[in-house]
Subunit: 164 residues, 3 copies
Amino acid sequence: MTQSKPHQAEFRSPSDALSRLGIVLPPAPKPVASYVPCVRTGNLLIVSGQLPFRDGTLLAIGAVPDPVSIERAQEAARQCILNGLAVVAGECGGSLDGVARIVRLGVFVASCNGFTEQPKVANGASDLLQQIFGEAGRHARAAVGTNALPLGASVEIEMMVELR
Amino acid sequence: MTQSKPHQAEFRSPSDALSRLGIVLPPAPKPVASYVPCVRTGNLLIVSGQLPFRDGTLLAIGAVPDPVSIERAQEAARQCILNGLAVVAGECGGSLDGVARIVRLGVFVASCNGFTEQPKVANGASDLLQQIFGEAGRHARAAVGTNALPLGASVEIEMMVELR
Amino acid sequence: MTQSKPHQAEFRSPSDALSRLGIVLPPAPKPVASYVPCVRTGNLLIVSGQLPFRDGTLLAIGAVPDPVSIERAQEAARQCILNGLAVVAGECGGSLDGVARIVRLGVFVASCNGFTEQPKVANGASDLLQQIFGEAGRHARAAVGTNALPLGASVEIEMMVELR
């Protein structure tokens, strides 16, 4: 709680972490068509597959590593998480402080044949979650490649989150 | 409950919706090999990936959009859901009225390289669920492409359902 | 409990089944980077996607059926499960006897275009689970193909397990 205990303070709350990281969550996306951004069942929140939209435009389109570099795909993975967290916050009254644990990520990476570094791409998502949530951000993960994603996005990520 | 309140009556029950839509669910598939059509854990029902079988034949074989059109793939997605709902009904004494919420769909679309309209295909599944269940049918969803599906099917869909 | 009741004895416990099958689980993998091998939420254990490592080396690298045969991929699927069960045991004090039910497998098979026998590959995983857990090992499953997996592995499998 004080400057003299930086490590304890570091993960005091996800809200604090967002401030410290200079992150402002995007607006929660609106429901589209017949499916919704998330569904709560018990204390689990299932978040729909998120694409790396930022201000209405996809951050990365195409397969990794060509034309989209691993670094660019990591940035896209990070954006997918920001969009997913916006959904979570939208469900929880505007804050992430109701998150008990990030349980699972499903990470799909548009991949050239022969590309095998999907975990590096997914780390763009995983590292951000640990930065924001600390221990509660460490999750189970399945990261795989695919030849085609919606709208040509380079990355799609779905989440399972435990709420308090 | 009366003709004068059509919108309330519309989603009175999934059974009513099926009748209204003229849908008769197919017989629940038998367990195959070492896995089963669904597993219940708590009040969640996890339904295995369903293929678009109708009367023992796959409705659509091959990648989208060539040789299988988006429209045909949507019909296949719809059939996957009918088969999945047959599994759910089989678990619930023959009726869908024990469904509290469709929680999540995992939609895999066999895709030509460069095909990016997996969400349109998946809407064939999502729209049907909303028709049958109303608000309770609106679900979280991850829709992705793939280069290869079992038996060459154009679509495979798995479901997570909350029971009452 | 006696030799005269072999079928009851057969599934007395997963520990017994492992002994009978001559299986020694590998050491539980260490957490890697920002994600972890599994997360427990309520009585569900979500296990991260497992690759077919044995003694530090991937059992099978490349797409099925060429260069990797279906038989080899089945063996790889079996190894993914052993690694996943090592994670489960690590979470449960070293034993599998706390497993109430294997709920779901997500099976990803690196596939040549046109390969459609992902279910046969996945049976390498499913059959082993039934051998170890009996009825409690019969699970829901989604098995799909993909053009690219981490490190070039031929198979990746994630699990959802219900604990007692």
